[in-house]
Symmetry: C2
Subunit: 417 residues, 2 copies
């Protein structure tokens, strides 16, 4: 084992989740156990914080607060959506990164995010390798979209899925309360992969979920949609609940939101009142069925609803962070932590390994077509068996005055060198 | 004490809440303890179920399921929005009600709802009295709007307030995650009274809430709004979070949603893309500040989010139902249960009493103007002290496969007589 002594840098990137801070806690707490890690830095707003030499000295944080990160949603260090250009197109950022890495003797770099963030992680890793600067680079997966390849699932998905399925059950009870016809359309995040929308099927399997579920994996046809709703309305006493992915597109790949939105006039401020594809489909139903309809968007709540986090997800996210540090200290670099499911006697467990970060960066895992059933309107039992273990257990921040006590970091900037 | 022997009828009315079924459980479980109550009926869809002789035989339910009602959101028996005409205008419904009451020997009538439902309850009570038919009529309060008079607060409010404040804290963490300017506008229920929107101030007092809160109690001025936001943006690093009541109106009493919506063109289905006042204000901000803005609606989730119910609220709602039965059995009629707050050594407790149901029916309690501070944009410490005890404690349905196990009623219709 090649013992590498130096500072470690951790950054958060992409859309926040309920458990991305849990991985941060995992990285920080594990890093503190290793003498070879001299300083522990947390980049403010991901890669941008490194470029701008703005990062926090994590050793100045109270360990109790770092542990509270486990149940604090969103990205405590700040996130970023910054796409590094390819090094052979524009080397500026890479030169600057190398400069900063050298100046602070950063020998461990952990980057937490989804596909785009793994792309950043991969590019940085390859550049540092090429430059001959020894640094162990590890990706830590995160995304409510659950669309990273190879890994069985992604930290963040279980909690978002738990939010979606639980809330859907509650909404179903609410939407059915009057004895008049009613169509409810719930819009759920997911531009290309329908994993999160699929989670509403967990509620359906409990008898309290949507009657129809539409994912981006299946070409959406508005005429068929109306027929599907009509069928449900007739067989179901005039009630229909629909879950729809924000990213549903037609056979040509055009977003339905875009397609239906083209004719939209502007409001008094000159902005098209888009309001999402859910609102549009809800209006379409109002038009066709003449009954009460309602559009609901889970909006940011589905990704930051940490009060409904899955314990399985929180623990796995924490462990993913810690595992990245362990591997790096042992000499691994240029990898991403991934999850491997093991089922023994029907009992789920999650093993962690490492895979090529390059592979994680450039692939996108969709919901398997064979799991999408009922003419593209429901998920199969195979999906339910896949997702159910991921939403198990409750795990949330302690309460203070009946409200969550989230982590409060000191955020002491590391002294500039 | 005049012992009155006969059946009891319970109905749910108006918009559902997280705890309206908790009151149902309170009524049913208490009713079973009294020999003078022969049958226990639950009206399907409130007053309409009585008119149509459609009610469930609650004695055919499993007690375990009735107890699960405590943590099951929405109205398990079905709700209704049905306004009884005054008896001197049209007696038809009243005659029919009397007929049904006589046929089934209904001597106890419990009605659970807000102002409108108490109006129904009051009218039925007065008509039965006038007809000389002995029946004990009791209102059980319920409304997330918290706008019933005399009572310190209403069952349903605490849980909705807990949903609003907790979710607001999570959203605040999420909304601030990027290092770019951002305005978030969250729309909260409440047409005339701002109680529920006010609950977002609980998050502000924890340092993670909206910067600006607008209630229907204060005339809304869009120019002032833009100035308020501008001030926050400048002092707060380009971030602003706004909580706004759906019912905000201008000085003339015109709804802002209506005012801003008038110029809205129709979408491709011929419907104005209203999307609520939050979306309109968000667009207005986008126009004025040119930065990213986001509108979020808590929609039905704020009233059915039983997974975030307040234990205090759940227990009080249950007790309110039980108290109504106890009073009725002892001879009380024509009243509504109300809550009286007692503070001893800083410790909150809630006593229950009865008040005129007529009074509850026709009054509307608003947020006191002296609790609205910062030039109409924030709630005072007095409000926080008022609301904080109401959101205390967690209390939710048991989990089954990681999802809530809500009550499953048999709903056996009572045999028609």
């Amino acid at each position: 084992m090649n013992k590498l002594v130096g500072a470690c840098m951790f950054g958060q990137s992409g859309g926040p989740t309920s458990v991305i801070n849990s991985s941060a806690a995992g990285v920080f707490i594990e890093a503190m156990k290793h003498d070879c890690i001299t300083e522990i830095y947390g980049a403010a707003h991901g890669i941008r914080g490194i470029l701008e030499e703005e990062f926090y000295d994590i050793r100045k944080e109270d360990t109790k607060e770092l542990m509270l990160l486990k149940n604090t949603p969103s990205s405590a260090l700040g996130s970023v959506r910054y796409k590094l250009k390819a090094a052979n197109v524009d080397e500026t950022d890479y030169k600057r990164l190398l400069e900063v890495f050298k100046k602070y003797n950063i020998r461990y770099f952990f980057y937490n995010g989804g596909n785009d963030s793994m792309d950043t992680c991969n590019k940085v890793s390859k550049y540092l390798q090429k430059s001959g600067y020894e640094c162990r680079v590890m990706g830590v997966p995160k995304t409510i979209d659950n669309d990273l390849d190879v890994t069985d699932h992604c930290p963040g998905y279980g909690s978002a899925a738990k939010y979606v399925s639980t809330t859907m059950m509650e909404l179903k009870l609410d939407a059915n309360v009057y004895d008049t016809p009613m169509i409810t359309v719930v819009e759920i995040m997911g531009r290309h992969a329908g994993w999160l929308t699929a989670a509403s099927a967990l509620a359906s399997y409990k008898g309290l979920g949507p009657d129809l579920i539409y994912l981006p994996e299946v070409a959406f046809d508005t005429d068929k949609f109306i027929k599907d709703v009509d069928k449900v309305m007739k067989s179901n006493g005039g009630k229909c609940m629909v879950a729809v992915s924000e990213g549903i597109s037609d056979a040509d790949g055009t977003l339905i939101a875009e397609k239906l939105g083209t004719n939209l006039a502007k409001d008094s401020f000159g902005h098209a009142q888009l309001g999402g594809v859910g609102a549009m489909l809800s209006n379409m139903c109002k038009d066709k069925f003449g009954c009460k309809t309602r559009a609901i968007e889970f909006s940011l709540m589905q990704r930051c609803g940490a009060h409904l986090a899955s314990k399985t997800d929180v623990e796995e996210a924490f462990k993913a962070g810690a595992t990245a540090v362990k591997y790096a200290v042992r000499g691994t670099t240029d990898k991403m932590v991934y999850f491997k499911r093991e089922m023994k006697n029907g009992k789920y467990s999650c093993k962690m390994g490492v895979m090529s970060v390059a592979k994680a960066a450039n692939t996108e895992k969709k919901v398997p077509m064979e799991w999408i059933v009922n003419d593209g309107t429901m998920l199969s039992k195979e999906y339910v068996d896949y997702a159910m273990p991921l939403i198990q257990g409750d795990c949330k921040a302690p309460l203070e005055d009946g409200l969550p006590r989230f982590a409060r970091l000191n955020k002491v900037l590391a002294g500039k060198k």
